[in-house]
């Protein structure tokens, strides 16, 4: 008798549980329809999305801007954010390959699957520079599509902003025109700001960077990359490599730039031995930035170089 009672109680509990779950599922889409729920892997993409989306979008950035976006875990909180997203913005070209596919799979949200309109891969919208990992032996970290660090290039970001607005418009046709207008304005500001900053820097600057993550500065500033502190991508500077850099660059002038999260030792060695100034710089704007934050970051980069 008591066995039967437990069964009835269990059936009831299960029924209640099932209806709660169903109710949750039914309520979910109506909630999401209000604004565009966007998850961006980096804060640079987040800044573009905020600028274009305005009040019509809510943007969450996954990768902390002061970290290497290569080396993250597919955290449970990432999957929880992606589960509810209407749109996923990624850099692509291998930058997030170490964690994003696992987070995407774990999110169980078809809208952001690769190939769906809700999945926006910025690298597909532009032409990439060659990555130095494509030359030389395969050391396990090859960006076959090209250099994915185009967050340092406002000109390419301008193109990406336009493509992003179009995609956001596909998902929210009511706001398509607004998105495009905002993107056009953002693109113009990016291009103008790049031009202004470039004019303030003395011509023919030579820079040494840590990783290939600032190569795109060549695209809009009067700079030439003359060396990397890493002997190979992903391998920290060795004494031997730094000595050879010093002997190659002896007697010339230039600047050393590296990301704030990268060890400063190599840069300091060049500073001592070549007399070059070295600057730790952020690679992405603060996590909650809109376009303004990115424009400030551009100025930070440009102002590390000798000004006219």
């Amino acid at each position: 008798m008591s066995y039967r009672k437990t069964r009835i109680r269990m059936t009831r509990t299960l029924a209640t549980l099932a209806s709660v779950v169903l109710l949750g599922l039914l309520l979910l889409p109506s909630q999401a329809a209000a604004g565009l729920n966007i998850v961006a892997t980096t804060s640079t993409l987040g800044a573009l999305a905020r600028e274009i989306g305005g009040d019509e979008a809510e943007v969450r950035v996954l990768a902390p801007p002061d970290r290497d976006a290569h080396d993250l875990d597919a955290r449970p909180s990432f999957m929880a954010a992606l589960r509810r997203a209407d749109m996923l913005l990624e850099i692509g070209a291998g930058l997030e390959e170490g964690w994003l596919p696992a987070a995407q799979r774990g999110a169980r949200n078809r809208a952001i699957n690769s190939g769906q309109p809700g999945h926006f891969r910025a690298a597909d919208m532009i032409e990439l520079r060659r990555s130095i990992t494509m030359d030389g032996p395969n050391m396990g970290h090859v960006h076959e599509e090209g250099n994915p660090h185009f967050n340092a290039d406002p000109l390419r970001l301008a193109d990406i902003a336009l493509a992003l607005a179009e995609r956001m418009g596909d998902l929210r046709p009511d706001h398509a025109t607004t998105f495009t207008e905002r993107a056009e304005r953002a693109a113009e500001r990016l291009r103008d700001h790049a031009e202004t900053l470039a004019e303030q820097v003395q011509p023919n600057q030579r820079i040494v960077v840590y990783h290939e993550d600032l190569d795109y500065l060549e695209e809009w500033l009067p700079v030439e990359i003359v060396g990397y502190l890493e002997p190979a991508p992903g391998i920290p500077p060795t004494a031997r490599h730094l000595r050879s850099l010093v002997s190659d660059l002896e007697g010339t002038e230039g600047t050393v730039l590296h990301a704030a999260f990268q060890p400063a030792r190599g840069a300091e060695f060049l500073e001592r031995n070549l007399g070059w100034a070295s600057h730790p710089v952020p690679l992405d704007p603060p996590a909650d930035s809109s376009l303004e934050g990115y424009l400030e970051l551009m100025a930070t980069w440009a102002e590390t170089l000798p000004q006219r």
Partner: protein, 431 residues
């Protein structure tokens, strides 16, 4: 513009490491870029282990002989020989069918055996946060169970996973359904219907032949014989911290063991269940190459086996003729185990870890008159160096402090040097 040359010392060092470990030098494989056009990623994981037993202790922890060593279907031995070992290497193939399914095949091999470790499809397009996985896979109960050896922080599997489940953990053929709640806190619920063959929790023998009209108690039982359920929670703790907590459990409606003694078969037939909790915490310092990062991880599992025992003579002995039945009893085995481990990145690309384990905090074995065995322990320390992303070299020292069936404790000390190289495409790291 000089494009940086690759540092020769690094390459020379790697070559030396590769040559130092057997097997690891066996193959060079790179997944061709052309393959990616039809969505197939291939990777090869090669492992070499140098093993040295510095002092010999008790072979196995008391109370865990039955059900563990009877695991059939596993050709390989989880133990290492003194000296060089190929370790546990893998070939992994990953492919997608549009955005509908992901397919995964993992073949595990050592120098004598090759085994399908996982072969499954995962749905990618079900609505409402649901996902179905079907095939042969590592169960998602607990934390370490679903992870392959090259993802572990130590050379060997935790005792609790090995002795409560099996040499490959809980690895089964079946179907899994999971649901991710649309909440800010990561909440995943899952159930699995599994065939039920894992030695520690769902050992299966099937019907055994009758003897001189004397029926044995072991019967065929159709699958699925094992059902599991789990829940995982992961609060959002900001950029520096991340954690995941899990509870899981399972019920095997068939747990069968047969043992051949000198003149009789000993048969067990019954059921088993388990339950456990797991927790992982990760701290990210934000510095390069993992310097200053922390990982803490722990799991506890409890297992109860509830069986009927019946012995049948296949040869006449002092107790009776062929077909003579004795030792008819019903009993329970109640056992558990726990481990806690921490790993710290003490320098760029270097990490060190400690693991403390206890097996049989409860160790009641009901067979015969029933016996309560003592608790066995193991303490492990490791240092790992990652010269480049896909390569690691790990030195590990383990002290086994096992108690034997007579309550005598003996300590053994083991040293292991592991070289692990991942070639080809790199799958994304799970949390």
């Amino acid at each position: 513009m000089p494009r940086t040359p690759y540092a020769r010392p690094v390459l020379a060092g790697l070559t030396a490491l590769t040559l130092a470990a057997p097997g690891a030098a066996a193959a060079q494989w790179t997944a061709g870029g052309d393959n990616s056009s039809w969505g197939l990623d291939a990777s090869l994981i090669l492992e070499g282990v140098y093993y040295n037993e510095l002092s010999h202790g008790n072979d196995s922890p008391a109370g865990f002989d039955d059900g563990h060593d009877h695991g059939h279907g596993h050709g390989d031995d989880h133990g290492f020989d003194d000296g060089f070992n190929l370790g546990h290497s893998e070939i992994k193939l990953d492919a997608q069918l549009g955005d509908l399914f992901d397919g995964v095949l993992t073949l595990g091999f050592d120098d004598s055996d090759i085994e399908v470790e996982e072969a499954y499809l995962t749905t990618r397009a079900l609505p409402g946060g649901f996902q179905i996985k079907a095939g042969k896979f590592l169960s998602d109960i607990g934390y370490i169970n679903s992870r392959h050896g090259h993802e572990w922080d130590f050379v060997n599997r935790p005792l609790v996973n090995e002795y409560l489940f099996g040499d490959h953990g809980l690895q089964e053929t079946g179907v899994q359904a999971t649901w991710l709640a649309p909440t800010a806190t990561y909440t995943q619920l899952g159930v699995e219907l599994l065939q039920g063959e894992t030695s520690g929790i769902a050992n299966y023998e099937g019907g055994q032949s009758a003897l001189n009209g004397q029926e044995r108690i072991l019967r065929d039982r159709s699958g699925p014989r094992l059902v599991t359920a789990f829940a995982k929670f992961g609060p959002d703790l900001g950029p520096d911290h991340a954690a995941q907590f899990g509870v899981s459990g399972g019920y095997a409606r068939s747990y069968q063991v047969t043992d051949e003694h000198s003149t009789r078969f000993e048969d067990w037939d019954g059921s088993a269940w388990f339950a456990g909790v797991d927790a992982v915490y990760k701290y990210s310092s934000g510095r390069a190459y993992g310097h200053g990062d922390w990982r803490l991880q722990g799991e506890y599992f409890y297992r109860e086996i509830d069986v009927d025992r019946r012995d049948v003579n296949f040869e006449a002995d002092g107790n009776g003729p062929v077909g003579f039945v004795r030792n008819e009893q019903s009993f329970k085995n109640q056992q558990d185990g726990i481990y806690v481990q921490g790993v710290y990145g003490f320098a760029p690309r270097w990490e060190a870890g400690l693991r403390a384990e206890a097996l049989g905090l409860s160790n009641d074995v009901g067979r015969g008159d029933g016996e309560t065995f003592g608790t066995s322990y193991r303490h492990t320390a490791q240092v790992t160096f990652r010269p480049v992303e896909p390569v690691f070299l790990r030195a590990q020292l383990s002290q086994n402090d096992f108690v034997d069936d007579h309550g005598d404790r003996d300590r053994g000390l083991e040293f292991m040097l592991q070289l692990n190289v991942a070639l080809g495409a790199h799958g994304a790291h799970r949390f």
